[in-house]
């Protein structure tokens, strides 16, 4: 108000010394007034700040986390919070009872995990807010309680009731083949063994052995069936038969067994994956070796040695040997056609046939073996060349040499007779 009054006075000229003194005096007064105003304002601000700060501390919401076992209780203010039951760890449902001293509140409510539940308007309104933050198992849960500090400090009271016995089924799963190496065509027996090594009954047991392995054809017993319910310590197994159809190294995947406990909590377990080797199909392989020591002469006889070796991995059975000579005239063979019941793998059978030379020439002896090689009828052939020579007089040259020697000896003798 004074300032406005001053501003309405005659204007002051600074260049006027008189005005200048007046001006300086007025300016000093305004400056002292400004300082005083600021000081007052600061005092007021400090006062209101202190009052307001006191009011905020009294209504501040805080929280405390607790791990509660079933039956444990938290007391805060007049409130009592008790963990009644873990209904489902899978679904995150816990039953908690909240009561208030004096009976003003007594409520048992199912809590959904991570969902805040307000009582008496919640912590913002002098009530409490309870949130289940974790359910480690079916016997305990982590609980967060939010409250105003004015309610005091929450305290946990352990339950005096004995801990409830665990009701937890655990299934061990084991899958095995009766052999880890097989041949194509071999049957293999697969055993799936499940045992409840837990403390609770396993319900709704299902073995999931999928997908079927393409290297096998499933013969019987597939898919494996396990008892739907296994009490603790009880086991069950399922067996099915497969036939290897494709060679190779196979990684047998884990089989998953799903089950539920008595509280319908779904559980599962896997077997360990493992490798099996499928070798090519086992079959016999007869090798025929025909050996003739050397040429034979017309009118002479020779020996044809026959060797049958089973180079395969299966037994050759019902072996029929049939010989053939080309050209058919000029060479006779006896004892070449034979039959053998079986030749085991890596075994050998030998026999001999007699060759008789009739006319000189080169002949081909062909021996055909028909047999059951484990993969149906098989045929194997072996050939050899036989040379029939003209009858040779081994020492024919002596017919020439001996007479020459005799003549020379005779002439030398005669020469000596006449040598004087």
């Amino acid at each position: 108000m004074q300032a406005s009054k001053l501003e309405k006075m005659a204007p002051i000229n600074p260049s006027d010394p008189q005005d200048n003194v007046i001006y300086k005096r007025k300016w000093s007064e305004m400056r002292h007034l400004t300082y005083l105003t600021i000081f007052v304002l600061l005092i007021q601000a400090f006062y209101f700040g202190a009052v307001c700060a006191k009011e905020t501390n009294d209504d501040q919401v805080t929280y405390t986390d607790f791990t509660l076992n079933i039956g444990d209780r938290i007391d805060i203010g007049d409130y009592q919070v008790e963990l009644i039951e873990i209904q489902s760890t899978k679904d995150g449902i816990v039953v908690i009872r909240v009561s208030k001293v004096g009976g003003a509140l007594d409520e048992q409510r199912a809590f959904l995990q991570n969902s805040a539940n307000n009582f008496d308007g919640g912590s913002e309104n002098n009530g409490i807010t309870i949130t289940v933050t974790d359910i480690p198992d079916d016997q305990s849960a982590k609980v967060r309680i939010e409250y105003q500090e004015i309610l005091g400090t929450p305290r946990r009271h352990a339950s005096e009731r004995p801990a409830a016995q665990l009701d937890k089924p655990i299934l061990s799963v084991q899958e095995s083949f009766d052999r880890n190496q097989m041949n194509v065509g071999d049957e293999v027996k697969v055993t799936i063994a499940v045992k409840n090594i837990g403390t609770g009954q396993a319900l709704d047991i299902k073995a999931e052995d999928t997908p079927p392995l393409p290297e096998f054809s499933y013969i019987a017993g597939y898919p494996p069936k396990i008892k739907e319910t296994l009490d603790p310590g009880e086991s069950d197994s399922a067996v099915y038969l497969m036939s290897a159809v494709k060679e190779g190294s196979i990684r047998v995947p884990a089989i998953q067994v799903s089950y539920a406990d008595s509280k319908k909590n779904a559980r599962s377990n896997n077997s360990e994956p493992f490798n099996v080797l499928i070798n090519p199909k086992s079959k016999a392989n007869l090798a025929i070796k025909l050996t003739v020591p050397g040429p034979i002469q017309v009118g002479g006889k020779g020996v044809l040695n026959v060797s049958l070796s089973n180079m395969g991995t299966a037994t050759a059975a019902r072996i029929e040997l049939e010989g053939e000579i080309r050209p058919p005239e000029g060479l006779e063979v006896t004892g070449l056609d034979k039959s053998f019941f079986e030749i085991l793998p890596e075994k050998e059978v030998n026999y001999s046939a007699v060759l008789s030379g009739i006319a000189p020439g080169n002949y081909t002896v062909r021996l055909k073996a028909s047999y059951d090689g484990g993969d149906g009828a098989m045929i194997q052939e072996g050939t050899t060349e036989v040379v029939v020579l003209e009858q040779e007089y081994k020492y024919q040259y002596l017919l020439l040499i001996i007479p020459i020697i005799v003549i020379i000896a005779w002439m030398y003798r005669r020469y000596k007779v006449y040598k004087y």
Binding site: M411, K416, Y418
Partner: protein, 369 residues
């Protein structure tokens, strides 16, 4: 079978014996190879022995086996000296006769020798004597070869004395062959010798074969001895073989007696004392009538003629053997030998006188040095 011993004494005898051995192999050039391939084929059992004092002469033999060559060691021959030869024989008589004795017993022995050389002319008479002494029953025939007349006075002298000694020994006879007479068969001396040797060999073997054969008309060793004992006991042989142009047996007999086919120059009709005709050939050529007529014709001049006929395939062959009642050619040889001896004696006397005259120049002088 006759057992025949054929002794070739001296160079000439050796070569004739070698020719006989050659004929036993078939003769000709093929015999050179045949001797290495076959054994000698004699008509009878014939043993041969070549005796010589000159080893080189023995080495020249080609068809006589080494065991049938006997070297009488006397340096290198006797140098045509009969006295040296006789001494050599006497010194080695046992050796020589031992070699003969090794060959067994014999019915007939031929001593083939030259009359002119050293060894043959000196050994043969002594050898014959020894044969007759050791084998009294053996028939010994000397085959004596007379020398070429121009070979020199020593050879003629040897021939003269040797023939005389051969005549004196107790042999059954002498078959003469005259080189001088037969050299007409060949131009050069070497060929003549071979031809003569071959002729003598063929005839002797023919004779042996015939004597040892089954004859149509029989002649044997006894007949042969009778023939050789006739006349001077000096005989010779004639031979003829018919050919395809003329197979007449009559002509064959006549030709065998002609001088041209004899080993010694003789006239059968005038000189023959006894004779033997041996005929060989295929039956179709041997006409007995003709043979008989020819033999009768010969008998008219020769006194007695033995005939033998051997049937053997081939053209007629005729061997005629006869002994002579006279040997005019021998007389000429002796005359020539005597002249030669006289000439040599005179020449030696003159030479001696000339030498004595030469020595007379220094008769009273002494050697001065």
């Amino acid at each position: 079978m006759l057992n025949v011993l054929m002794l070739g004494v001296g160079q000439c005898g050796n070569r004739i014996l070698d020719a006989i051995n050659k004929e036993s192999f078939g003769g000709g050039g093929a015999s050179r190879l045949a001797k290495y391939c076959m054994r000698p084929k004699f008509p009878s059992r014939v043993e041969t022995l070549a005796v010589n004092t000159a080893v080189n002469d023995l080495k020249e033999l080609r068809f006589t086996t080494a065991k049938d060559r006997l070297h009488v060691p006397n340096l290198h021959g006797v140098g045509a000296n009969r006295n040296v030869g006789k001494q050599a024989f006497m010194d080695n008589r046992d050796t020589i006769m031992g070699e003969i004795e090794k060959r067994g017993d014999f019915d007939l022995a031929f001593v083939i020798t030259s009359t002119s050389g050293g060894t043959g002319s000196s050994f043969s008479p002594l050898l014959i004597n020894e044969l007759k002494r050791q084998y009294p029953s053996i028939t010994v025939i000397t085959v004596a070869v007379l020398p070429f007349r121009e070979e020199g006075s020593i050879y003629l002298q040897n021939a003269a004395f040797s023939m005389r000694e051969l005549m004196e020994v107790d042999a059954e006879g002498i078959i003469l062959a005259d080189n001088q007479y037969m050299k007409r068969y060949s131009g050069d001396i070497a060929s003549a010798y071979d031809k003569i040797n071959s002729m003598i060999a063929q005839r002797l073997l023919f004779l042996i074969e015939s004597l040892d054969s089954e004859m149509l008309s029989v002649t044997d060793l006894g007949d042969f001895k009778t023939v050789m004992n006739g006349g001077l006991r000096i005989g010779t042989m004639g031979f003829y073989q018919a050919d395809g142009k003329n197979q007449s047996i009559k002509d064959a007999i006549e030709n065998s007696l002609k001088p041209g086919n004899l080993l010694y120059p003789a006239n059968v009709s005038e000189d023959a004392a006894r004779a033997m005709i041996i005929i060989q050939g295929s039956r179709e050529y041997l006409d007995v009538d003709q043979i008989t007529k020819e033999v009768e014709k010969l008998s008219a001049s020769a006194g007695h003629v033995f005939k033998g006929i051997v049937i053997k395939k081939g053209y007629p062959k005729v061997l005629s053997i006869f002994t002579m009642a006279s040997a005019p050619e021998l007389e000429s040889i002796y005359a020539q030998a005597a002249r030669g001896m006289q000439d040599e004696k005179e020449k030696r006397s003159r030479s001696r006188k000339q030498l004595d005259d030469a020595f007379a120049h220094i008769e009273d002088l002494e050697e001065i040095y």
